[in-house]
């Protein structure tokens, strides 16, 4: 379904752009996407791929898109984690826990997101002391008004082997998890999980060390003059945007999770309890699978909202796709129509892709039959 919509929209846009373009050409107005290969000439303060002023506008698009994906992806991750915890806490039988969750939810979902972004940025992160008086955590991590500087591993030649080891460990994790579950079902007892995983990790990284030595150098940031050198600098715009998006969306997700769990018939928990299932097993195997059916559709729209809301980055000049493309690039090359179209297309594709993935997941959760 989404694929069809995407194709239709793409088609319509191509037609529209072509149409407008020929009109403009007739009037001798500069148009088209030629600018994408021209020299951009401006710097960007957070780039996940190599980028200099001499790179093209085309590369600017990729840099901006990656920045949008980074803040949205991490935002979705943290908002989901926090939102599920808050949703469960809201239903806690402990009065205090439940009230704390309630107060959080009411505050964060009722203050406009733009204000929250500005609060974190201008109110908190920009108000931190200058680098010379930076707050430090163990003299390795520093927080100042220029951002957060973390120690970082500088990777040299042979680091690839460690990457391979990490992939191997991930594969081992999933294999072990399946093995444990299978063992539970065939022998009735759980087998060890963490210990073999640890052994595997040691073996894999030991092998990597044998192959490549230790091609890493710990790069601890140090104050040089007015700013820090070395380490990894996380810009304050990113931190503020990520915080605001995660905390804001978590409040909505918490309400969705609460409603989802509440929608599961009370009799389901009672039946599980009467069978002697421990509460945690009942939550995981009986309640949550049913709640997820109700949770996933509105959760999807929260994910879409978060991604779209990340365009508020413009307000604090975080270099997301809107800032760099519909902002800086637009003001430099002036081809508003093309640029806005490209930006819209990017969001549309991201949204349709997300919906498609979540729908696939939801179909797997659907019940057979129509009774409750």
């Amino acid at each position: 379904m989404q694929v069809l919509v995407l194709a239709a929209v793409l088609g319509a846009m191509v037609w529209l752009v072509g149409n407008v373009q020929s009109n403009l050409e007739r009037q001798n107005i500069n148009s088209g996407f030629g600018f994408l290969s021209e020299r951009a000439g401006f710097g960007i303060n957070q780039t996940l791929i190599a980028y200099t002023e001499d790179d093209s506008f085309g590369r600017v698009v990729v840099v901006g898109l990656l920045n949008t994906l980074l803040v949205s992806g991490l935002g979705i991750f943290f908002a989901t984690l926090l939102g599920f915890s808050l949703g469960v806490a809201r239903l806690s039988r402990n009065w205090l826990i439940s009230k704390i969750a309630m107060v959080y939810i009411e505050i964060f979902r009722n203050v406009p997101l733009l204000l929250q972004i500005m609060f974190w940025y201008f109110g908190v992160l920009r108000n931190l002391p200058s680098p010379r008086q930076a707050l430090s955590v163990g003299d390795a991590m520093f927080m100042s008004n220029r951002g957060i500087v973390l120690p970082w591993l500088e990777a040299g030649a042979g680091a690839m082997w460690y990457g391979v080891a990490l992939l191997g460990l991930a594969a081992g994790f999933f294999w072990l998890r399946r093995r444990t579950l299978k063992a539970k079902l065939t022998t009735g007892h759980s087998t060890r999980f963490w210990r073999p995983l640890l052994v595997l990790a040691l073996a894999l990284f030991g092998a990597a060390a044998l192959m490549a030595g230790v091609p890493f150098a710990l790069d601890v940031p140090q104050l040089k003059g007015f700013n820090f050198r070395g380490g990894l600098t996380v810009i304050p715009e990113f931190v503020a945007l990520l915080l605001a998006l995660s905390l804001y969306t978590a409040a909505f997700i918490a309400e969705i999770v609460r409603a989802g769990i509440n929608s599961v018939n009370k009799g389901q928990r009672e039946a599980a309890a009467a069978l002697g299932l421990p509460e945690r097993v009942a939550l995981r195997l009986v309640v949550l699978p049913q709640a997820l059916r109700v949770i996933i559709p509105p959760l999807t729209s929260q994910y879409l909202n978060l991604t779209k809301n990340s365009s508020l980055a413009v307000a604090i000049a975080y270099p997301d796709i809107v800032s760099v493309l519909a902002g800086t690039t637009l003001s430099q090359v002036g081809q508003a129509l093309e640029i806005i179209f490209v930006t819209m297309m990017i969001y549309l594709s991201l949204s349709l892709l997300t919906s498609w993935a979540m729908n696939r997941y939801n179909q797997r959760m659907a019940f057979v039959g129509n009774n409750t």
Binding site: H189, Q268, L275, L277, V286, P289
Partner: protein, 246 residues
Amino acid sequence: MTDPVIRISDMNKWFGTFHVLRDINLQVAAGEKIVICGPSGSGKSTLIRCLNRLEQHQEGIIEVEGVSLDGSSKNLESIRSNVGMVFQQFNLFPHMSVLENCTLAPIWVKQKTKQEAEALARQFLERVRIPDQADKYPGQLSGGQQQRVAIARALCMNPDIMLFDEPTSALDPEMIKEVLDVMVELAEDGMTMLCVTHEMGFARQVADRVIFMDEGEIVEENEPEAFFSNPQNERTKMFLSQVLSH
């Protein structure tokens, strides 16, 4: 008489300020079949739900097989795995197949292997006469079939005692008999049963004792013949005349 498997003495329960169970005293011997009846809202469900602590009583003592229900979670665990319960609304897990419904607790509570649990489940599904529905989902079954699955699911834990809370009240009339037949068979096999029901035919056929409750009290109890033919209490008489008149 051997020690009773269930012993309730001077038990009281409130919902907030509402006194829902008053001075309940009841002993049930192993293998005994008790039918509990009474008007709606009289506390029948609450009483049997106290026996596996789906509801908590505030005063008095409840002991099941010598283990006291006093809030200790270890006691509760042992009691719940020995007491099966069947609900009016079936409460099957809709996202699991019939077989998975039946094997869930044996696997996670009794640490059985999947193979053992499935063998056991098929055996009990056979006993409730739906061996061929094992791979279907609850939503694909009729009400009567669902309730029989619920009975099989409880039996898979090998309980010593079975509690039934109006097991046939949510069923269409033509399905009541198939569920009652299964329950009668279970009774004949010697299961200790406490059954809230208004199926008076069932009560006459299998009950050792019938208990009548009203407004949170046990008003009258007797053997079924005497209970139906010669009720002592005015409230019992009125209730019976209403139930038996249709």
